[in-house]
């Protein structure tokens, strides 16, 4: 039940926003993530954005894995 789905914020209207989930648009609450901006990828749970997805960190994690794994092959 703790599933959170990534969506991308298209519009912001006060405390709410419209996010795109693989082509489907949904209204989400932004009260838990007031710093969210249009264009951000966010994790959405039960109708609320709960965190920004840090794309840089995602790349870093993958790169680190690549390095450690190929280095010792």
């Amino acid at each position: 039940m703790c599933l959170a789905i990534p969506g991308r914020i298209k519009r912001i209207e006060g405390e709410f926003g419209i996010a795109n989930f693989r082509g489907v648009e949904r209204r989400i609450g932004l009260m838990l993530l007031p710093e969210a901006k249009v264009g951000d990828w966010v994790l959405v749970h039960a109708g609320f954005a709960i965190q920004r997805i840090d794309q840089e960190k995602a790349q870093e994690t993958l790169k680190m894995l690549e390095e450690v794994l190929s280095y010792e092959e």
């Binding site: 838990l32 794309q55 894995l65």
Partner: protein, 356 residues
């Protein structure tokens, strides 16, 4: 080979190198249980490694007496009960919300607590009760909804507070030491909210490694590898594998809304018992939204299904195939206990993916 499967192979290789002795890792979260079963990871990793399901399926740990009580509320005339879909099939002592719906109770399955608020606003003469179950991922969304209801002057929305907290449950299992737990795969989305610090007492007090892990197969494999590395280096601590979503401090705004609306209380976990300070109730300021107060009903005396071993499974003492009812009398079509009802219960996950 695709990059991802190449990395997965590499990680499996690393895991094999380190998994030289019997090791029990507990995936605390039901979403991890599902991810592990559906990706087949349980079958890929070396036999020395055991992945135990933990108490992290909210539907499974909600006590039968709460379910009975929620059913009583749904039966009251003029009440609309709003709930996440996962709850409708769960058996209480004698009925379920699904059975009550068939008998005419007005139960609305919602995707967000905001939907419950909307139902309340559209039906000002009705009382609307939202079933508040879930962990730290979910409780802030409900806190936020209550704050919004208050701001808008909505007085006919009530919350049944059944929220639970993950770190106290992990502490409880570590303290009890009934199951030998050598590492915790910590829940990714609970940690999005609470950050990594609330787990720190676990390696400190119990010497058990913790890795906050994401839900993709690669995340889970990397999490397992990090746990084994911590063990090999004899350096138990809290690490974050799921860095794209989790920071040390979590989501401060969500934490503040929890603080604003709820107080910590002792809480009963189905099949496990009372865990001190492991639940959230509404605080004094928001007591008017408390369904337990608004609907003053007698406390039911719950009956647990005979033969069900969900409790020991969620404590890491047993696995689903140990249950004599598993796959015979108890299947997703004819569930006996909560771990088979919930789509992310351990029994349902094992059954669906043929891990018998």
């Amino acid at each position: 080979m695709r990059n991802e499967s190449r990395l997965a192979q590499g990680l499996l290789h690393k895991i094999e190198e380190l998994a030289t002795e019997e090791t029990n890792l507990m995936e605390v979260c039901g979403t991890h249980t599902m991810a592990i079963s559906s990706s087949g990871i349980r079958k890929m990793i070396p036999r020395t490694l055991r992945l135990l399901s933990g108490p992290g399926c909210p539907v499974c740990v909600t006590p039968a007496e709460d379910i009975d009580w929620i059913i009583e509320i749904a039966r009251l005339p003029g009440v609309i009960l709003a709930t996440f879909g996962d709850m409708v099939k769960v058996p209480g002592s004698a009925s379920s919300l699904e059975a009550e719906m068939a008998k005419g109770a007005e139960v609305k399955v919602v995707y967000s607590p905001l939907d419950a608020l909307q139902i309340a606003e559209r039906n000002p003469k009705r009382r609307v009760c939202f079933v508040g179950v879930g962990f730290e991922t979910t409780s802030p969304t409900v806190a936020s909804t209550i704050l919004l209801a208050k701001k808008r002057g909505v007085r006919n929305l009530f919350i049944y507070p059944g929220f639970k907290l993950i770190p106290p449950a992990m502490g409880f299992l570590s303290e009890k030491k009934e199951a030998k737990i050598d590492g915790f795969i910590c829940p990714g989305h609970v940690s999005v909210i609470i950050g990594s610090r609330p787990y720190e007492f676990i390696p400190k007090r119990f010497g058990i490694p913790c890795v906050i892990t994401g839900f993709e197969p690669l995340d889970v494999l990397q999490g397992i590898w990090m746990l084994l590395l911590q063990r090999a280096n004899n350096h138990p601590r809290v690490e974050i594998q799921y860095r794209r979503g989790v920071t040390e401090e979590g989501n401060p705004c969500a934490l503040a809304s929890l603080e604003r609306v709820f107080v910590r209380c002792d809480s009963q976990w189905r099949g496990i018992g009372v865990i001190p300070s492991s639940g959230l109730g509404l605080n004094q300021e928001f007591a008017d939204y408390d369904a337990k107060r608004a609907f003053d009903l007698p406390k039911p005396k719950p009956l647990e299904p005979r033969g069900c071993i969900c409790g020991p499974i969620m404590m890491g003492l047993k696995v689903p195939p140990d249950c004599s009812l598993f796959g015979e009398r108890c299947t997703p079509q004819t569930p006996v206990g909560p771990c088979m009802v919930s789509s992310e219960g351990a029994c349902a996950a094992y059954y669906k993916y043929g891990e018998t």
